[in-house]
């Protein structure tokens, strides 16, 4: 065998794979997500490598297995005790945390990476469901009444859950990556009366947060009242409201602590996964299975960090299998010297 034959054999055995720009874009967003933002609180931050696809699949199975144990009837003895203990531990950690104040003229940086479903029904009459990724970055000024900036970026992440990219393209589904958009508004009130709107759990402001009770039982009752009649399941909706507020990144440590203790009072809340990974960070997933879905929030019980939330199917839906991730959000915080600038290291 000549040198040339040998090289040619190598090229056959290790055939060229054409570069897939989407695959590279997904890897890029995974990496930059981790390297860009910086935590606010003076704790040691640990970066975890993201789960491989196989490990993620195993995690889904674990969630379903855990849920199957608890879904019908009351949770097994001890489960509620553990939920309460770990949530209270997270609350204790928050009490020890001192939120770093944003220096005058600088900005609190809040980055959320979200996955959500997009449904399409193009002219071929078939249903296509794509899970797409986006990133929202908010720069909130030290003086909250000043101008805020919100930048939304399409991460280019696309997972075709129903239908294939090929047939979707043929049916005319537009796949191009959307250009980033920016909004600027005083008080972060992007869409309505700046500095003069009614705040709520979904878009809280300082006044709203200051008025919320710090007593866990009172806070729990307030969550129940405010979420009453919303969503598909009353208990699950309490968790959704709590996640909405936590995701804003604006809750002070004492309120985060009170919220964790309030959630410990929520019937049906179980630990769905002890070691859940979201965008490379690990915590405990607390969830409620109801109405065909499992709604979860992921908290690091040791530090109290709110890592994010996710929603998975617990029953088939539109041809998607149980276990399919249908929504997730992960949150990172930092302090940035200027609106639009990456957070300082």
């Amino acid at each position: 065998m000549t040198d040339d034959d040998f090289d040619s054999a190598l090229r056959t055995i290790y055939a060229e794979v054409p570069l897939d720009p989407r695959s590279l874009a997904r890897a890029r967003s995974r990496v930059l997500e981790t390297v860009t933002p910086v935590v606010v609180t003076p704790r040691k931050q640990r970066w975890w490598p993201r789960l491989s696809a196989a490990a993620a699949a195993a995690a889904v199975v674990a969630v379903l297995a855990a849920t199957a144990l608890h879904r019908d009837g009351s949770p097994p003895a001890g489960a509620m005790v553990e939920v309460a203990q770990t949530l209270n531990a997270a609350a204790d950690a928050e009490i020890r945390t001192v939120d770093v104040t944003v220096p005058p003229g600088q900005f609190r940086y809040i980055a959320t990476h979200a996955l959500s479903l997009e449904n399409h029904q193009p002219s071929d009459g078939r249903l296509y469901i794509i899970r797409t990724g986006s990133r929202a970055e908010v720069w909130a000024p030290a003086d909250r009444k000043a101008e805020w900036l919100r930048r939304e970026t399409d991460t280019g992440e696309r997972v075709w859950l129903i239908g294939t990219a090929e047939s979707g393209r043929e049916a005319g589904i537009e796949e191009s990556v959307r250009p980033p958009t920016e909004l600027r508004a005083r008080c972060g009130d992007w869409y309505e009366d700046p500095c003069d709107r009614d705040a709520d759990w979904q878009s809280p402001n300082d006044d709203f947060l200051a008025d919320l009770p710090r007593d866990p039982r009172e806070l729990y009752d307030r969550l129940r009242d405010d979420s009453d009649g919303k969503g598909n399941d009353p208990d699950q909706e309490v968790l959704v409201y709590a996640a909405d507020a936590l995701r804003s990144g604006l809750l002070p440590a004492d309120l985060r602590a009170a919220l964790y203790r309030a959630l410990a009072l929520l019937p049906g809340l179980i630990i769905t996964e002890r070691t859940a990974t979201l965008d490379g960070r690990t915590g405990t997933a607390y969830g409620i299975a109801a109405a065909g879905t499992i709604q979860e929030i992921v908290i690091n019980p040791a530090t109290g960090d709110f890592i994010g939330e996710r929603k998975r199917l617990s029953a088939p839906m539109d041809g998607m299998r149980p276990g399919t991730l249908i929504e997730s959000t992960s949150v990172r915080y930092g302090i940035s010297p200027a609106a639009g600038a990456p957070p300082a290291r």
Binding site: M1, Y14, E16, L19, R28, V31, A53, P342
Partner: protein, 176 residues
């Protein structure tokens, strides 16, 4: 270079410069899906270890390939060697033969490739890495030395020995 103010932006530029080449290198050995994971893990590991990067010891490219090679080894260890070889060769297309009298020849060629693939899979990790970083990665001896932490001269002599032995194996298999 990768620390201090603006480090994240510089790191993004490093990603854009090197990720494509790494992806191709990894995809040829482990497939596109694994390549995506390994590229991300390589850069995440590089970011975590950025304080350890010493420019005098080698280029950023060498450093990244060094990390990727370790991750790929770990990935390969998780797969049985035989499974890996058959997986790779099942990817080789084998269309219905229009000329039955040449079929035997093609079977021979396939047998030779299988033998070579098995021989490469059976190499010590360090030998295989030198061969593939050269042939698939296009790295030169100095870069490979920096990536694997061995002297450049060792890279050259190892490469020479590995190629000579593999060619001899292929000839033996072809004649037997």
């Amino acid at each position: 270079m990768l620390t201090g103010a603006g480090a994240a932006d510089r790191f993004a530029a490093v990603f854009d410069e090197h990720a494509g080449g790494l992806w191709r290198y990894l995809a040829r050995q482990a497939g596109a899906a694994v390549a995506e994971d390994l590229v991300a893990e390589t850069f995440l590991a590089a970011w975590e270890a950025r304080d350890d990067y010493v420019a005098e010891l080698g280029s950023v490219r060498s450093w990244l390939y060094g990390i990727a090679v370790n991750l790929l080894r770990r990935h390969h260890r998780g797969q049985a060697q035989q499974h890996r070889i058959s997986q790779r060769l099942s990817g080789l297309r084998q269309p219905d033969d229009p000329e039955p009298d040449r079929a035997a020849e093609r079977v021979d060629a396939r047998t030779r490739l299988e033998g070579l693939a098995a021989a490469i899979a059976g190499l010590p990790e360090g030998d295989r890495d030198v061969l593939l970083l050269t042939s698939l990665g296009g790295l030169d001896s100095a870069e490979i030395g920096a990536a694997l932490g061995i002297p450049e001269g060792t890279v050259r002599s190892r490469l020479h020995r590995v190629r000579r032995n593999l060619r001899a194996t292929a000839i033996e298999k072809g004649e037997s």
